[in-house]
């Protein structure tokens, strides 16, 4: 984050501003994490009873049903994930300004699209999109259903296309494994599904919408907190790196591109930074973890002229 954007960010009022400060926010509303699934479900169905839509017996029945059917993030449809992804993206773009360079963004989108199609989740609700962020931070973020963001600082860790491909592929890996959605507290998902069960019986109108929106908002906070403050679990980063290596090989890139990028990142990262320095395992640790996956590929990444020329043309000024 640049100095000026950090100032803007820190001056934001309200609970959104808590993000990035490393403070665990006390989220308002009825749906905090300490409540059990049952309690949350009960709260929603109580609403149905109080509004006269359900009698108690039916409400109990729905509560029971939801306990059976609501499982977790897997039950979030691509369509719902898409709206979550949009909101998480808007939140990312509150902290980082977009880098408004059409040629560079277009190059990144073609590269990203080719990689996404070779991933294990090529189809998302409206497809993958990639955007460069105007920041010296070394950061890359992805939101559910394929919104991917890469800072200029991160692109400067890439000396060739195979390395840039590795950065995008790592983020696609997070999308593919639905790591963002897994940061949402389970109780919220249960609550949302309970609302749906009631809605399909009879609409609850604005009260239901208010409640669903609150669940939505808290879900966005869950994801943003994890992604921006604490970072994902190491196991998720390993999964994303493994997915990246697979994508690179499938397209025809040298997976050592990831290693090359990590080597530069190792030099460029500033201790104490609020970017990958904070949210990711160290580059050295990641290199050691991916090495066994690289197989017989030559450790020196070849740079065919046409590939290197277009890379430098598109990202040379980044």
């Amino acid at each position: 984050m640049t100095e000026s954007s950090r100032r803007t960010f820190l001056s934001l009022a309200g609970k959104w501003a808590i993000l990035g400060l490393g403070v665990a926010p006390a989220l308002g509303g009825v749906l905090t994490g300490c409540e059990t699934m049952e309690a949350v479900t009960r709260a929603s169905t109580d609403l149905g009873v109080s509004t006269g839509v359900l009698d108690k017996e039916k409400a109990d029945s729905i509560t029971e049903t939801v306990q059976e059917t609501a499982k977790g993030f897997e039950d979030i449809t691509p369509e719902q994930g898409y709206y979550i992804g949009r909101a998480v993206s808007a939140n990312i773009l509150r902290q980082y300004k977009p880098f408004n360079n059409t040629a560079a963004n277009q190059y990144l989108n073609v590269l990203g699209q080719v990689l996404a199609q070779s991933s294990d989740l090529p189809e998302t609700f409206r497809g993958y999109r990639f955007l460069i962020l105007d920041s010296d931070d070394i950061n890359a973020l992805s939101a559910p259903e394929g919104f991917v963001f890469i800072t200029r600082g991160m692109l400067r860790c890439c000396q060739h296309e195979d390395a840039a491909a590795a950065v995008l592929a790592h983020e696609i890996g997070h999308v593919q494994h639905k790591h963002g959605l897994q940061a949402i507290q389970k109780s919220r998902i249960t609550s949302a599904l309970t609302n749906l069960a009631i809605k399909s019986a009879k609409g609850l109108g604005s009260e239901k919408l208010t409640q669903l929106t609150e669940t939505f908002e808290n879900s966005i906070l869950d994801i943003s907190k994890t992604m921006i403050n604490s970072g994902y679990a190491r196991s998720f980063e390993v999964q994303a790196d493994e997915a990246a290596v697979k994508m690179l090989k499938r397209v025809g890139y040298n997976p050592h591109g990831l290693e090359d990028m990590l080597e530069v990142m190792k030099k460029n990262l500033k201790p104490g930074g609020l970017d990958f320095a904070k949210t990711h395992p160290s580059p050295a640790w990641r290199i050691a973890s991916i090495r066994p996956l690289l197989g017989d590929y030559p450790s020196k990444v070849a740079k065919p002229k046409a590939r290197q020329d277009r890379f430098e043309k598109a990202l040379g000024t980044v």
Partner: protein, 166 residues
């Protein structure tokens, strides 16, 4: 189609799994779970697009090859391939005479179409969080990459895409 009542929805939710296996139809139907499902001539993203499907459209799966499903479109009878990640995971079992309501209730996936976190919730969320700016999110979504651009990119970059983009 009569509107589902609380009772029918509760019943269907409760018996959904049982009903689905009971119906155990001969035809394996699945729904398109992305906004636009692209049907291709061959099981590869490099292959020609022969049809476009809308969200929620149903297709019959007649075979599989890797991550691709061979499908038949119920209306036209046209055949083609679609990447399996574009289809809902749960199969929608159709039995002769099943009403749409029953199909909806027996499939969690399809029953959720358009519900839950949707455009309406996003509108409410934006109203509550006025400082959130979606301008660039919308702009991002307009970035388009054509199949021709991808093919040219692979060719020019000397990328065989032999193990992937398929």
């Amino acid at each position: 189609m009569p509107k589902p009542t609380v009772d029918t929805v509760v019943d269907k939710l409760k018996t959904g799994a049982a009903a689905a296996s009971e119906m155990a139809a001969k035809r394996r139907m699945r729904s398109v779970q992305v906004q636009e499902g692209q049907v291709r001539a061959e099981p590869s993203f490099l292959s020609k697009i022969t049809a476009r499907l809308a969200y929620g459209d149903q297709v019959e799966v007649t075979g599989e090859q890797g991550a691709w499903s061979k499908i038949t479109l119920p209306k036209s009878g046209a055949k083609g391939w679609i990447h399996t990640s574009a289809l809902s995971k749960k199969e929608i079992e159709l039995s002769a005479g099943a009403t749409s309501a029953e199909q909806l209730a027996s499939s969690n996936e399809l029953a959720l179409a358009g519900k839950g976190f949707n455009a309406e919730v996003e509108g409410e969320f934006k109203a509550k969080n006025k400082s959130l700016d979606y301008t660039w999110v919308d702009r991002m979504e307009k970035f388009q990459v054509t199949q021709e651009q991808m093919l040219a990119f692979l060719r020019e970059g000397g990328l065989p895409a032999s193990g992937g983009v398929k």
